[in-house]
């Protein structure tokens, strides 16, 4: 997804302005001229300068006929759009359900779903998903003592 530089500049301008606005709430210390707000304000000023330059550049490109935003050609092919979206969606699903379902069932389900969507044969996808899930649980959960969520399997593990 390519966005015109002017749009990027506008977003940065808003972000930098919000940054400066938030620094006005930082506490000031009497007798101390250089407080916690100084560095963020300098950075935000730098961002504003960059944002303005980007906007100038973007508007010039716009006059040459560049669109405000352009999608890569694969966005018109639904299969590839889903392929692109399933990755972040899998992460979101993990964030939402990890606590209730637990690592082992959820990781297995997510791996299996992704394998099958990408066109893997079920005969190969099933054992690989199961083995990878257990291996990862053993390595991180048991060896490295990472508190991976247990969820449904709380009583068994």
């Amino acid at each position: 997804m390519r966005v015109n530089d002017a749009v990027l500049g506008l977003v940065l301008l808003l972000l930098a302005s919000a940054m400066i606005w938030l620094t006005t709430y930082f506490p000031a210390f009497p007798g101390q001229d250089y407080g916690p707000a100084l560095f963020p304000r300098l950075l935000a000023t730098g961002l504003i300068v960059c944002a303005l330059l980007l906007m100038l550049r973007g508007l010039a490109a716009r006059r040459q006929g560049e669109p405000w935003a352009a999608l890569a050609s694969w966005w018109s092919r639904p299969g590839q759009v889903v392929s692109f979206l399933v990755m972040p969606l899998a992460v979101v699903a993990y964030l939402l359900f990890a606590e209730t379902l637990g690592f082992i069932p959820l990781a297995f389900a997510l791996l299996l779903a992704l394998f099958l969507w990408f066109g893997e044969r079920p005969l190969r996808a099933l054992p690989v998903a199961a083995a990878a899930t257990l291996l990862m649980y053993w390595f991180f959960g048991e060896m490295m003592r990472v508190p991976l969520p247990r969820g449904l399997l709380n009583d068994i593990l």
Partner: protein, 498 residues
């Protein structure tokens, strides 16, 4: 001397050797797999090494990156697909050599000169780092402030084709470090009362997002377009390498020196070293017309260059805490996690760890030759592993790794946000590396800036009064002026053309 002996003892421990061997195989695999980069290998290694002692964890990173940079040459020659960006500069040349029937020679040259180039880089690391550390012991906040400024400017200046967008990335990275408790006054900033944000932005989780998840997003789109690949047969790769060495030794030396230097400059790593060295080989060649037809000269120079850059990048990282490339940016995060704050004091406080890193670097470059040979021979099997399985597995690994960094879903959320952001930035020509460098150096920059401001009571003159600080400051200002001048000239020219 005791420290050197202690270092040998630390390295030649069976479990450490096992970790190094495992990391070497992992690095070879990631490097040989098109689409997986050396930086990604490092980011994925960090969660695994999180619970290890300093020496095995640093050893794993050193070995894996050295192997990955070499292994990227193999698919470049066989399939014209560079395994890592560092091999992109001479992928065409290598592939043309293979088409001329010189695949064996090309792979032999790649593995031998990668290892030799790597060793030259390590020699410079061993010689330069302690000497520079001695010098750096006298540095005050002024010197460190300018050093950080110069490093970050270099990162924008050399590392990117578009300095303006490089600066945007850098400022975003620096701004993100402001989230959390402010290092000078201890005030929470931009936390919105959130406990997770109070702890700051976990830098490894961000790296996993920006370097691994964003790559997976790109990979997922391309997944269904890939056809079947045919891996050619490989014979005796070491035949004829000696002849190449006798003929092109000058290229080898020039490439290794250039690579070390570029690696040591902040922000530019192995990939830029390879491009520069390839261009240099062509420029100074007696037969420049042969370049682009499958000529070994550029492969020698660039192949040595990118591996020496891997070691060169460690020089500023260990001595000043300023990363030479995105891999050492991760290393600095690891050093902090292990309680070995990078900087000159690490050479006096923990010299055995530093020597251990040196030893592992040399070892890694030596075992590169036999392991590289194995990797070349087993390339067929490596490429047979379907990406349909690989991408989801890496994604799950990223999730678990990011979770392990914070032991909460905060790490995963950070990974997701920066994964999508990294993908979007790359799509729009905004480089990711300066952002990561800003993120690593932000706190150090602010701390030294605030300390200096308080010491000088707001005056600018003390920033230039000490000799080294003055020199660094003037250098930084000159680079800034140069950039402004260039920008102004470009802006002046464009309306004239239009």
């Amino acid at each position: 001397m005791d420290a050197v002996l202690a270092a040998f003892g630390l390295v030649f421990d069976p479990s450490v050797m096992l970790v190094i061997l495992g990391a070497a195989v992992f690095g070879m695999f990631v490097g040989a797999m098109p689409g997986l980069t050396a930086t990604m290998a490092t980011a994925l290694l960090v969660p695994v090494t999180f619970f290890m002692d300093p020496v095995p964890s640093l050893g794993a990173i050193v070995t894996a990156t050295a192997m990955a940079i070499f292994a990227g040459d193999i698919p470049a020659a066989m399939l014209r697909m560079p395994g890592t960006p560092a091999s992109a500069a001479y992928a065409d040349e290598s592939f043309l050599m293979a088409r001329k029937g010189q695949l064996d020679l090309n792979l032999g040259v790649n593995v031998v000169f990668s290892a030799l180039g790597g060793i030259v880089g390590v020699v410079f690391l061993v010689l330069c780092a302690p000497a520079l550390a001695e010098l750096a012991l006298n540095f005050s906040s002024f010197e460190y402030f300018w050093l950080a400024c110069l490093g970050l400017t270099c990162a924008v200046f050399i590392g990117t084709g578009n300095p303006l967008k490089g600066f945007v990335a850098l400022l975003i990275g620096l701004s993100v470090t402001c989230i959390g408790i402010d290092p000078a006054a201890g005030v929470p900033r931009f936390t919105f009362g959130n406990v997770d944000l109070m702890s700051g932005v976990n830098f490894i989780a961000v790296m996993i997002g920006a370097f691994a998840v964003s790559e997976l997003l790109r990979g997922a789109v391309a997944l269904r377009q890939e056809g079947h690949v045919v891996v050619p047969q490989v014979g005796n790769v070491f035949r004829g390498v000696g002849g190449v060495m006798r003929r092109y030794w000058l290229n080898f030396i020039r490439g290794s020196l250039m690579g070390t230097l570029i690696g040591a400059l902040p922000g530019a790593g192995a990939d830029i070293a390879a491009w520069v060295s390839y261009a240099m080989a062509k420029r100074f060649s007696r037969t420049p017309e042969k370049f682009g037809t499958g000529h070994v000269e550029g492969v020698v120079e660039a192949g040595a260059s990118n591996n020496s850059a891997v070691a060169g990048a460690w020089i500023p990282a260990l001595v000043f805490g300023i990363p030479g490339d995105s891999i050492t940016a991760i290393v600095i995060g690891v050093l902090y996690m292990k309680g070995m704050n990078p900087g000159p004091t690490v050479f006096t406080e923990n010299p055995q760890f530093i020597y251990a890193v040196f030893i592992i670097f040399i070892l890694a470059n030596i075992i590169m030759v036999p392991l590289g040979w194995v990797a070349i021979k087993s390339m067929k099997q490596v490429l047979r592993i379907p990406r349909t399985l690989l991408l989801p597995l890496i994604l799950l690994f990223c999730i678990v790794g990011a979770f392990a960094m914070t032991n909460s879903s905060y790490g995963i959320l950070l990974m997701l946000i920066f994964g999508v952001l990294g993908w979007f930035m790359e799509e729009n020509g905004i480089p990711v590396a300066p952002m990561i460098l800003g993120l690593v150096l932000g706190e150090m920059l602010e701390q030294n800036f605030m300390t200096s401001m308080i010491k000088s009571d707001g005056a600018w003159l003390p920033f230039f009064e000490r000799p080294i600080a003055g020199a660094l400051g003037i250098m930084t200002l000159l680079v800034w002026l140069l950039m402004l001048g260039r920008g102004a000239r470009a802006a002046w020219r464009r309306p004239a053309e239009a």
